[in-house]
């Protein structure tokens, strides 16, 4: 095989193919032939790589990426593999230098020509938040827009944010609806206040209901007592008269001793698909008033229901039900239950009238008397907000033309709505773009606010941009601090953690109720809050990013503390603060705790498992990508996945052993497996396990697990013998082996030693987070030419104890952020 000349030919060809500055000759083809082609030629093609056919065509992004991978593997000493002959170091160095120089040139040239980042449209979250901040809309319009794609892990990356007719149609109708929601002429609508004493009244429930569910609530002179999750209806409330914001207050007390937890839900009562949990809360025996403010669509209702109270009464109730419902007297039953005294609903609420959105668009103009001059004035003042920059006279004229056209057969408001509808469909609104090179202050304001608020810049940012001051380092620094402190920074937290840590997938699977009976709705809700609040704590206090691997604190409520076995530490903290059991507190962890850090949080452990089993491979790949910043390529085609078996005879580790030991797989698995194995100590809901749980009924060895707090009534009635007991007996399978060997060769016995080994290199997490944040903030994953700037960020943040807020400041001050 004459691969040497083939390669030269390829290089010659690449000169022609590449439109960027010529890639000169000088790559040591002899080196590749001697040390690489044995495995990476057309015949053997180890790992799917045929180097003899790989063009050094750096204009082609796939080819470029593969070459970078080749470079990095050789640089890290992974290739040639350890058992092959080592190439002379000088030759390796020379090859790497040549490649590095070329990559650097090609990547930098492309950036200079086209910019690092491409123009991109707003994603759904950004669009919604922008409408909220510009118009003050309360309705969530996201479900009306097509789902966004993601590239490099984020829905911020231009290549994934395509546009089609579906989008444009959705933008047209959504803009119209949003304008209709906010621009309402006439006097302020009256906010109704209804006070509803909660009493049993048949007319609110119906006859049939009475006979079927009478045993689920008690009738007291001053309250309706609910004993379960079955009837959530609020007596007498017929639903929201109009869409809008509503204040909801409920007075209730725990019935039968202990404090009772409750769920407040809103939405369409008849359709569980379109209702949502507003919050979880609790009521003490002496009673409390809980207030929430939430958006309701027309006819939406609210619901309150106690949760987690079945436990104590189950045996009693099972007996009663078996005897026949009449034998059970709900009115003398001692509970536990939730005695609801009264409920108040007030709304639709308006922050001001005219609405803030209307004032922002029209100022104090009376819409009934407005003229063309008012239209022009509104466009001059509002278009710069919509387009996030100053607008030209021509642009104002362009929109006035639309107004004039529409005003021919409509009134002022109708014509303005069409005009603004067009502005909200304009590429100037929908796209974030800037020419290659340094961002001007206006573009910088947008990049900043879409990074840290997931929304449009506010008046202050735009004013600083208009004065040309925003890019000044001290001003920029102060603005970053201001943005991070603003409540709108919740948009960053939600969007970033939703993707970086996959929190958006929290409901993707339902844990197997037989294997994991302790999973319930409250923990699902709590564990997402835990991770978000944890991120917030690290950010607000500028704590080291090593906290994501190990921290000496955790954000816990009672449900999480129970799940993690941390009731003592949590209890001490709660007594100090006297907070409710559903609220999350910062709790110092006892020495030696396996918790602390995101890898030991139930949310992360759940989204990296499938509800029934966890795979060390999937979790390992996840940790590599998210925590260590070293994404693993997908397995070569044709590798069968391991078929999980939960009958209890084999472990996934045993099943994997065969696969791992094969030579072509071992390269990647040496990196994937250590984190995967270490996390085997956590089950699919984030509980600590010494042994796997087994589904096979024949397994003799069993353990008692508390049933979920909540349970479901119809199943309870049909089959009480199975549903009744609050303790489930779970079969115990093989022992967990969480030991492994780090890629460097050090052995670890389990998760704690693994974690300690990781912590030896804090730069690694800083670099990983830099990659993720750069991708998120600039809409473009780090490119080859960015490596030096990334190194610099990591070096600077090292002197600032790797603090997360410091890291964000460094990223924003870096050329990667300040240039398009």
């Amino acid at each position: 095989m004459n691969s040497c000349s083939t390669l030269r030919l390829l290089f010659a060809a690449s000169l022609i193919i590449s439109s960027l500055p010529a890639i000169g000759a000088g790559v040591d083809a002899q080196y590749l032939e001697t040390h690489c082609f044995d495995c990476h030629d057309a015949e053997t093609k180890k790992g799917g790589l045929d180097l003899t056919a790989l063009k050094l065509d750096l204009a082609d992004s796939n080819s470029f990426a593969t070459w970078v991978d080749v470079h990095d593997r050789v640089r890290d000493g992974e290739m040639p593999p350890p058992k092959k002959k080592r190439p002379p170091e000088a030759e390796t160095k020379a090859l790497l230098e040549t490649l590095d120089a070329r990559f650097q040139d090609a990547s930098a040239a492309r950036q200079a020509q086209e910019g690092r980042a491409l123009a991109r449209r707003l994603n759904r979250d950004e669009y919604q938040n922008t409408l909220r901040d510009l118009l003050g809309v309360a309705k969530d319009y996201r479900p009306q827009l097509p789902e966004d794609g993601r590239a490099n892990g984020y829905d911020k990356v231009g290549s994934a944010l395509s546009v089609s007719a579906e989008h444009l149609q959705a933008y047209m109708s959504t803009a119209r609806e949003a304008l209709d929601e906010v621009l309402v002429p006439g006097p302020a609508p009256k906010a109704d206040l209804v006070h509803l004493p909660q009493r049993w009244e048949q007319r609110h429930f119906g006859k049939d209901f009475y006979s079927r569910f009478r045993w689920t609530f008690g009738d007291q002179p001053d309250a309706l007592v609910r004993f379960g999750d079955f009837v959530e209806k609020i007596v007498g409330y017929r639903g929201a008269p109009e869409a809008g914001m509503y204040r909801f207050r409920v007075k209730a007390r725990a019935w039968g001793g202990e404090t009772v937890k409750a769920r407040i839900k809103a939405g369409d009562e008849r359709n569980s698909n379109t209702s949502w949990v507003v919050t979880y809360t609790e009521f003490p025996p002496e009673g409390a008033v809980v207030e929430v403010v939430t958006y309701l669509r027309k006819k939406d209702t609210l619901r309150v229901s106690p949760i987690g109270i079945a436990g104590a009464s189950t045996q009693h109730r099972v007996e009663q039900v078996l005897k026949g419902k009449r034998g059970f007297d709900a009115n003398t039953y001692q509970g536990p239950g939730l005695a609801m005294e009264w409920v108040e609903v007030e709304g639709p609420l308006h922050e001001s009238w005219p609405t803030p959105g209307q004032r922002r668009v029209f100022g104090d103009v009376d819409l009934m008397k407005a003229t063309r001059t008012d239209a022009e004035q509104a466009l001059r003042s509002f278009l710069p907000r919509v387009f996030r920059r100053a607008v030209t006279d021509d642009e104002v004229r362009h929109y006035l033309k639309i107004y004039d056209q529409a005003a021919k057969d409509g009134d002022f408001l109708a014509a303005m709505k069409v005009t603004l509808q067009a502005a909200f469909c304009s590429p100037h609104f929908l796209y974030l773009d800037a020419p290659a090179g340094a961002l001007n202050d206006e573009a910088l304001a947008s990049r900043l606010s879409y990074f840290l608020w997931c929304s449009t810049p506010d008046d202050e940012l735009l004013a600083l941009a208009a004065k040309g001051e925003l890019h000044q380092p001290a001003t920029l620094h102060a603005q970053v601090d201001r943005l991070l402190k603003d409540p709108k920074a919740a948009g960053f937290n939600e969007s970033f953690t939703g993707q970086w840590l996959d929190l958006r997938k929290i409901t993707a699977t339902t844990p197997d109720a037989r294997l994991y009976p302790e999973w319930d709705e409250l923990i699902e809700w709590s564990c997402v809050k835990e991770t978000r609040m944890f991120f917030d704590e690290v950010l607000k206090k500028d704590l080291s990013v090593t906290n994501f691997v190990q921290s000496d604190f955790a954000m816990l409520n009672e449900r999480l503390a129970k799940h993690y076995g941390l009731m003592e530490a949590y209890g001490a903290e709660r007594r100090k603060l006297g907070s409710s059991s559903t609220a999350l507190l910062k709790v110092p962890l006892p020495a030696g705790s396996v918790r602390g850090g995101v890898m030991a949080q139930a949310s992360v452990l759940k989204v990296t498992a499938n509800g029934t089993t966890s795979s060390p491979v999937l979790r390992g790949v996840w940790v590599m990508d998210r925590i260590l910043g070293l994404p693993v390529p997908p397995p070569p085609p044709g590798v069968p996945a391991v078929e999980p078996d939960i009958r209890g005879a084999t472990t996934i580790r045993e099943q994997l052993a065969k696969h791992r030991n094969s030579e072509s797989c071992s390269g990647c698995h040496a990196k994937i497996d250590p984190p995967g194995f270490a996390l085997e100590s956590f089950d699919v809901i984030g509980g600590w396990r010494e042994r796997y749980r087994a589904a096979d009924e024949a397994v003799k060895d069993r353990q008692f697990i508390s049933r979920p707090l909540t349970f479901d009534a119809p199943a309870f009635v049909k089959d009480p013998s199975k549903r009744g007991p609050m303790l489930a007996r779970i079969g115990l399978g093989p022992k967990v082996d969480a030991s492994g060997t780090m890629p460097g060769g050090a052995d670890f016995a389990g998760y704690e030693e693994f974690r300690r080994a990781l912590l030896a290199n804090p730069d690694q997490f800083a670099r990983s987070l830099t990659q993720h944040l750069i991708t998120y903030a600039t809409g473009t994953a780090p490119q080859y030419a960015d490596r030096a700037a990334m190194d610099e960020i990591v070096a600077k943040v090292r002197t600032k104890h790797h603090g997360l807020a410091s890291l964000i400041h460094e990223i924003i001050a870096s050329p990667l952020f300040l240039n398009q």
Partner: protein, 427 residues
């Protein structure tokens, strides 16, 4: 060619309804059109329904062992015994390098490789490719149904078309004439639409002159979108004055809860049948998605997604079987309806290709090879099990090419195809 809706019927509506004995009013079937309107030898319009059921089908119960015409009916296929001559069951098909576990739902009708990876970019789905070719022959060029969140239909630049997932809304759109107010509002929207699009077009063109080549590509997408919406407005305008077909079927009730997959499936398939029978559309996709809870089926205690990760637990497999049988029964009811309506001797099913399959061959291990696939009707020679290599799968796209050709579209290639599907021929 637009099928004209002429009032003088060759077969009176009443007579037709009497003969079918079903409680449906089917006024616009081509059978009732005067012969001359359709042209004496014009073939009846071709139709296609493409269904993906996420989470696979339990393979041992689905695939027959024997290949060819004398294949035995597997436990699942027994349900379709009455339709034995009307379908082909395939084994050994998959999209090469589909990958991505559940993410491969996105590529079921597009064949784009590496779903779920960072570099994944989707492309046009089979139905959209056909819609591009045949244009707006019907009031709705296509319908994309979804039981939960997603649809199977993707545009050329890889955008998922949002699914129709509210049966009542679809029913209104297909069959219910608007009130005068609604009609006025719709006319206003169309009028406003034109001036908004004019504005956007002008701005995009101006912007395009200013930006670099990469950004120009992105703006091109926006330009295309403007043109496409313009076309849609025109189609909507051209149909806005024609009366919608009347059906006697009552409007669908409440969409069942997310956990009731079979309930949702049946309701959507009922609508699909009505849409085809009234020639409201000729292309329907239906994504039957991952569920949200325990389906209300006797003997089932866990959610379908959970059960698909059965880990070989026999108790779970038994529950899974119950769900899948119920799902296939719902499909069977739909097919039987298509088989029993249409011209005498030429049932609707004969002109309607119905593809039913899954993007997962083994949901327990998220394996995307050896997909369960069935093709019903559409004028093919059926009644066989076409078995391909279970180790080296044949591209599912080969079947798509055959289906395109069966639809009368001159296509040589789709996705990763390397030909048509051997053994599948037109009758």
């Amino acid at each position: 060619m637009n099928t004209p809706h002429l009032p003088t019927a060759a077969l009176s509506r009443r007579a037709f309804l009497r003969s079918t004995g079903v409680g449906l009013s089917l006024p616009f079937l081509e059978a009732m059109l005067p012969r001359f309107a359709r042209g004496a030898d014009a073939a009846p319009p071709r139709r296609m329904v493409l269904i993906n059921k996420a989470l696979g089908l339990h393979a041992p119960d689905f695939f027959p062992e024997r290949a060819g015409h004398d294949f035995e009916l597997s436990p699942y296929l027994k349900l379709f015994a009455a339709l034995r001559g009307d379908f082909t069951v395939f084994s050994g098909l998959s999209h090469p390098e589909a990958g991505g576990g559940h993410s491969s739902e996105a590529s079921f009708l597009t064949a784009a490789p590496h779903a779920g990876t960072p570099a994944f970019r989707n492309t046009i789905s089979l139905d959209q490719l056909i819609a591009e070719q045949i244009g707006a022959q019907t009031r709705h060029p296509f319908l994309a149904f979804g039981s939960h969140s997603g649809s199977l239909s993707w545009t050329r630049n890889g955008v998922q078309i949002p699914p129709d997932k509210d049966p009542a809304t679809v029913f209104r759109r297909l069959f219910i004439a608007g009130t005068p107010d609604e009609v006025r509002e719709q006319e206003r929207q169309l009028r406003d639409g034109h001036s908004i699009l004019d504005s956007v077009r002008e701005e995009t063109a101006a912007l395009q002159r200013r930006v670099g080549s990469g950004d120009r590509d992105r703006l091109d997408q926006y330009f295309t979108a403007v043109r496409d919406v313009e076309k849609r407005l025109q189609t909507a305008e051209s149909w806005s004055h024609k009366p919608k077909p009347q059906v006697q079927a009552p409007p669908p009730g409440e969409y069942p809860d997310a956990s009731d997959i079979v309930g949702r499936m049946s309701m959507m398939l009922d609508l699909a049948a009505l849409a085809l029978q009234t020639d409201s559309t000729r292309l329907i996709t239906f994504a039957i998605d991952v569920d949200g809870g325990v389906p209300p089926i006797e003997g089932v205690k866990e959610s379908r997604h959970n059960l698909s990760h059965h880990g070989q637990d026999p108790a779970k497999i038994e529950q899974l079987r119950r769900i899948e049988l119920a799902e296939l029964q719902s499909l069977n009811a739909f097919l039987t309806k298509l088989k029993s309506t249409g011209e005498p001797g030429s049932p609707l099913l004969d002109h309607t290709q119905v593809l039913f399959g899954s993007n997962l061959g083994n949901a327990s291990s998220h394996d995307t090879r050896n997909l369960p696939v069935l093709l019903f009707g559409g004028g093919f020679k059926h009644g066989q099990h076409l078995a391909f290599d279970r180790t080296n799968n044949t591209p599912l796209s080969n079947l798509f090419v055959s289906m395109l050709q069966g639809f009368g579209i001159e296509a040589e290639k789709f996705g990763a195809s390397n030909g048509t599907l051997a053994g599948l021929n037109q009758a």
